[in-house]
């Protein structure tokens, strides 16, 4: 019931009203249903009765019409009067009209329709046969007319059967209708009963759920109030409550909240006070102790200050001797600076000279190398000369051979060749001379080549010597450079020493001044310490008073905390 409510009610009032109106509505519905049923029933009953009545009337009219029609037909056969003829026609028309009216009745069953059609058929046949009989009678053929009339009467039985069958059908229809009506009445009555039953059940349901709905939150609120009166402010009433209870619960929750807050604040305050009191007591004790200490310290300070003054005076004296030493260091460093400057200058001069020597050595080496190249070229030239000389030598040999041959030829020629033999001899001599000259040249060239080779060796040795000299000169230059740098650094260091020495002298002078003023202050301190010592003893007395006050405060805060702790506040 409460697990999944279809409608959520905001208040008891609303719920009661809703339940009330729902019940009223259901009863109205039930009433309306009952009334509508009764109206429908009465209409239905009225209609059915009217239909039955109409059916009965029509059946009566039909029966009457048919019997009157038939009697009129028979009458005409005997009397052949126009009145009977007219009556026959009138009642025939009336019977057919009734039959048509029956056919037009609403809700006819097929068997009824068929029966009405059958009645019409039978009636029509009877009429037709009577009409034929009448015409035969008119023609004076009485016997034929009688036969025809008899044939017509044969049909009357069928017609009456049909009319009776229709009556039975109508009766059955009335029975069926009344049964249907009864069933309908019972059905409607049941529905009304069901509606009333549902209303009653729903009413009970509304009352039960509403009571349940009210009493349960009521119990919770009572429990809440009891908890509050017992000083338990942690209890809360939450959840889905009827509107009025929800407001009450919210108010109680608010009260509990406020009280809990007050308790919490009081508790913290008590704690704070207690801890402050403890702190205060501690501080007082400490102050008291430190005051005692201070007093004794001050005494020590006072005596210490006096010995300090004495020591300071000896420091001042030491500072005076430091100043004298510093002056001497200053003078020494100036000498060092001057010396370093002159070393640097001479080293620079040496370097310039060595550089010049290096330049000369370089040009010597180049010249020697050039000469060596020339000698090599000379060697090549000597080889060329050798080749040329060998050529000349071969030419001379050939020429000598040629001259020999020419001499032989000239001898063969006899007298004619005598002159030519002389020439050939001269040529052979020339060739021998040329051969000799060539050999001389070869010897000369070999000598030159030997000399040149030894010269080349000598020169290569010279070039190597020059390189060594160059290396030595360079090493000297590097050494001199290092000397120059060292001299410069020495000079700078000496300068720095002078500056520092001057600064030290100034510091020492100011230190001496400071020491003198400290000595004066120390004297003052010694006097002040004696005054403080006296004041500290007074403070010590005050601290003892404070200590007893803070003890009282501590006791008060403990009492407060006990009181508040009893209220079970939610932190």
């Amino acid at each position: 019931m409460n697990a999944a409510p279809l409608v959520r009610f905001r208040s008891i009032r609303q719920r009661l009203f809703t339940g009330f109106w729902l019940l009223v509505g259901l009863f109205v519905v039930a009433g309306l249903m009952a009334r509508a049923s009764m109206l429908t029933m009465s209409t239905l009953i009225g209609d059915t009765l009217a239909a039955v009545q109409q059916d009965a009337q029509l059946a009566a009219r039909l029966s009457a019409g048919v019997s009157q029609e038939l009697s009129a037909a028979d009458r005409y056969l005997q009397a052949r009067d126009s009145a009977s003829q007219a009556e026959f026609r009138t009642f025939a028309a009336e019977s057919h009209r009734v039959q048509r009216e029956m056919n037009l009745n609403p809700g006819l069953a097929p068997d009824e329709v068929a029966l009405i059609a059958s009645i019409d058929d039978a009636l029509s046949t009877i009429e037709t046969r009577y009409a034929t009989a009448h015409r035969l009678a008119d023609l004076g053929r009485a016997e034929e007319a009688g036969r025809q009339a008899e044939r017509a009467r044969d049909m009357v039985a069928t017609l009456k059967q049909d009319i009776e069958a229709l009556g039975v059908l109508k009766t059955r229809r009335v029975t069926d209708a009344s049964r249907a009506l009864r069933i309908d009445v019972e059905r409607r009555a049941m529905w009304v009963l069901v509606a009333i039953g549902v209303s009653v059940v729903l009413g009970l349901l509304v009352v039960f759920t509403t009571v349940n709905w009210i009493s349960q939150p009521m119990r919770r609120l009572v429990a809440h109030a009891r908890a509050l009166s017992g000083g338990n402010f942690g209890v809360r009433t939450e959840g889905d409550l009827p509107g009025e209870f929800r407001e009450l619960a919210e108010a109680m929750n608010g009260t509990a909240d406020s009280l809990a807050r007050v308790v919490a604040v009081a508790n913290t305050t008590a704690d704070d006070v207690a801890s402050s009191a403890r702190d205060l007591a501690n501080v007082t004790v400490q102050i008291s102790a430190s005051a005692t200490q201070m007093a004794s310290s001050m005494t020590e300070v006072s005596s210490g200050a006096e010995s300090q003054v004495r020591q300071l005076k000896s420091v001042d004296e030491a500072l005076g001797s430091i100043r004298t030493n510093a002056d001497e260091i200053l003078a020494g460093s100036a000498d060092v600076t001057t010396l370093a400057g002159s070393i640097g200058d001479s080293a620079r001069l040496r370097r310039a000279e060595i550089e010049r020597a290096l330049g000369i050595l370089g040009s010597v080496r180049t010249t020697v190398q050039d000469a060596a190249h020339e000698v090599v070229a000379l060697t090549h030239t000597a080889e060329d000369i050798n080749r040329f000389v060998s050529i000349v030598s071969r030419i001379a040999e050939q020429t000598d051979l040629l001259a020999l041959n020419a001499a032989i030829e000239a001898a063969r020629a006899g007298n004619a060749g005598r002159g030519f033999a002389v020439v050939a001899d001269e040529v052979r001599k020339l060739a021998e001379q040329a051969q000799a000259a060539a050999e001389d040249v070869v010897q000369l060239t070999q000598l030159v080549t030997t000399r040149v080779t030894s010269t080349t060796l000598a020169m290569e040795a010279g070039v190597a010597n020059v390189g060594e000299i160059e290396n030595v000169s360079r090493n000297i230059d590097v050494a001199l450079d290092a000397i120059t740098t060292a001299a410069e650094q020495t000079r700078l260091a000496a300068g720095n020493v002078a500056v520092r020495a001057e600064r030290n002298a100034a510091i020492v002078a100011s230190a001496a001044q400071g020491v003198q003023s400290i000595a004066r202050t120390a004297e003052g301190h010694a006097a002040a310490a004696q005054q403080i010592s006296a004041a500290t003893q007074e403070q010590s007395a005050a601290c003892e008073q404070m200590s007893s006050a803070s003890t009282q405060l501590l006791q008060g805060s403990e009492q407060l905390r006990e009181l508040v702790g009893a209220l079970k506040a939610v932190a």
Binding site: N103, L115, A117, D120, D121, T128, A131, L139, Q148
Partner: protein, 365 residues
């Protein structure tokens, strides 16, 4: 193929054939098919059906006819009507054909099946049911037209013979009301054509009428004419729409006046197209029965096409014709009065000449 497979294929094929596209639509038809006018009605219905299905049916579905013979009998008509109402696949009915049958059947169709009667012209049928319509004018109008024609043609003494049924009584009564001359006789005659009408004709001779008006079908009409010829009664005969098949009987019917709802001589395009189609199909000229049956079938088919395959919507559509464009029938424009009667129609006066209904021009028509 194993028989089981063949069976399966046949089942699939029949399932396909039964899918909505080709599932047939059914209408019912009932009438006295063994009578001449019944046969003409039947042929008119059949021709209309053939034309509809040749055009592809209604929305692709063929239109099928369920035919029942009511023999013009009210009881049988009521049973047939019940069967049609019960068969939910029957969307509408063409018929019935005779007034008596329709009188009974209309009460059954009132349960909710639209029916368009062809030649049931009894005044009693006007307003008999919300569900019944008819394409023929009421006899109360037809009888009046014919009575005026008779008066105008100078007939002073008229004898009235009528079949003792809804149609005959209604038409005879209408004629008597509209006739200005003297009614020398007003007798019911047998409708079956078997019972003798000799006493009536003999009696009429004693009354010397110049016109005999016969309200009935060609069945009783032929009996009367035959008896009159036999007795050598030289008198003018006149019949209503029920008489149109009499025209075929040239020896008997020559010269008779017929108030016909339709003439094959109607020069209108629709009528002539219908006559040509009918002659091609049946090798005979159509009469009012055939034309009205054709029109009734066509208007019902259009109602199914436009209203939908629902009895109620078909009835709605038929009733709504009055407020809209009428259906162009071969017998003229068709729309229905709330009573179910066709609006603005009557009969055309014809005379039987050489087996045909020739339109009689002149007073009264």
């Amino acid at each position: 193929m194993p028989p089981l497979n063949r069976l399966f294929v046949a089942a699939v094929l029949s399932a396909l054939a039964c899918s909505s596209g080709s599932e047939p639509l059914y209408i019912g038809a009932a009438g006295p098919w063994n009578e001449a006018f019944g046969r003409m009605n039947q042929q008119g219905i059949a021709l209309a059906l053939e034309e509809i299905n040749a055009r592809g049916g209604i929305a692709g579905r063929p239109l099928r006819l369920i035919e029942r013979d009511d023999a013009g009998d009210g009881s049988r008509a009521a049973a047939i009507a019940s069967e049609f109402v019960a068969n939910r696949s029957v969307l509408g009915v063409v018929g019935h054909i005779t007034s008596g049958a329709m009188m009974a059947a209309a009460r059954i169709y009132d349960q909710g099946l639209p029916a368009v009667a062809t030649t049931a012209s009894s005044p009693d049928l006007s307003g008999i049911s919300q569900w019944t319509f008819r394409v023929i004018a009421s006899d109360s109008a037809n009888g009046l037209t014919m009575a005026r024609f008779a008066t105008a043609r100078g007939f002073r003494r008229a004898a009235v013979l009528f079949e003792n049924n809804s149609y005959g009584r209604g038409l005879a009564e209408a004629f008597r009301r509209g006739y200005a001359g003297e009614v020398v006789g007003f007798d019911p005659i047998p409708s079956d054509g078997k019972a003798s009408v000799e006493p009536h004709i003999s009696w009429l001779r004693t009354r010397a009428p110049d016109l005999v008006f016969v309200a009935g079908t060609d069945v009783s009409g032929r009996a009367v004419l035959r008896e009159a010829r036999r007795q050598g009664v030289a008198v003018a005969f006149m019949g209503g729409d029920g008489w149109t098949p009499v025209a075929a009987d040239t020896a008997l019917a020559e010269g008779a006046f017929v108030g016909a709802p339709f003439s094959a001589r109607d020069p209108g395009d629709a009528a002539q197209r219908f006559v040509r189609a009918y002659v091609t199909r049946y090798r005979e000229e159509p009469d009012g029965n055939a034309a009205l049956a054709y029109d009734a079938t066509m208007v019902l088919a259009r109602a199914i096409e436009h209203g939908g395959a629902s009895r109620a919507r078909i009835r709605e559509w038929l009733a709504s014709l009055a407020g809209n464009q009428p259906h162009a029938g071969v017998t003229g424009p068709i729309s229905f009065h709330p009573s179910g009667d066709v609006i603005g129609r009557g009969v055309v006066m014809t005379r039987i000449r050489n087996g045909s209904l020739t339109i009689e021009t002149g007073a009264g028509s």
